[in-house]
Symmetry: C2
Subunit: 159 residues, 2 copies
């Protein structure tokens, strides 16, 4: 299985993630933008995801709830800047409603080469401290689980 590369330099606002998938870019883009597919891979394995809102255009919003086996709920929301497209990628804000005001900006790009697709994402927080807090809260575990689950989901859907 391909490896997920996470880059978070000390003192920086950003976290960068790179991962290669054995699928064409159009398929990977679909897995990022169809809420029924997103719910199958986004987040740590132990959580289930329910999509509350998913309005995929400029100034549209999204919101989803992760539930753990004990019934604890974690709700996230954001807005799309620009209408997501394979050519221009996805630009969105991101906020855990349990830490209101701690908003990040994310850009996700899809690059195809020989039928495989590299997904590159960058997330910038409003402060270095906020980014460091996300890392301390286990962001890396959630990212690695998500990327591995996405690779599995891609094998199950039609191109």
């Amino acid at each position: 299985m391909s490896d997920t590369v996470i880059t978070a330099r000390p003192g920086s606002h950003s976290v960068e993630i790179t991962r290669e998938f054995d699928a064409p870019a159009a398929l990977v883009f679909r897995a990022y933008t169809d809420p029924d597919l997103v719910a199958q891979w986004l987040g740590p394995r132990r959580l289930t995801m329910k999509v509350d809102n998913w309005t995929l255009h400029h100034a549209g919003g999204y919101r989803y709830i992760h539930t753990d086996p004990e019934g604890g709920e974690y709700t996230f929301r954001g807005v799309f800047h620009g209408t997501p497209s394979l050519a221009d990628g996805i630009i969105q804000t991101f906020e855990f409603e349990g830490m209101p005001g701690d908003v990040a900006l994310e850009k996700i790009d899809f690059t195809e080469h020989n039928g495989r697709t590299t997904v590159h994402s960058v997330s910038v927080g409003l402060s270095v401290e906020a980014r460091d807090q996300h890392i301390a809260n286990g962001m890396e575990h959630g990212i690695r689980d998500s990327m591995d689950r996405l690779a599995e989901v891609l094998k199950t859907i039609e191109g």
Copy 2:
């Protein structure tokens, strides 16, 4: 007149701006959120501003056009994350349509003390290079003009 303090550390994604105004916070917040008032102060003095869209709530968008004396147009757009309020401030994305995809995230806070208000804003770009490009393009001049013009506008409106 109070001074505008701009902080942009080398190698950082962020630009921070602090300015004190001789007006209560509710009035300053109104000047940031009423598009008819915003059009009187946002941007360098030599440009005129026309608001195309201003939808002030979570997942609402804004868009405006600056026009220079020669008729050149510069259009900007973004989306609001969260509904702007005096208590929680304003969180929004920002993009010059002439450089599509080069999006920043901004948070603006208003703190009142003895009838005066300190406005603090932080803007983070998706890359350090993007932030540096904004600075090279004359961002500081636009910020200083805007803050001075806002101080003037605040004197003309009722509390």
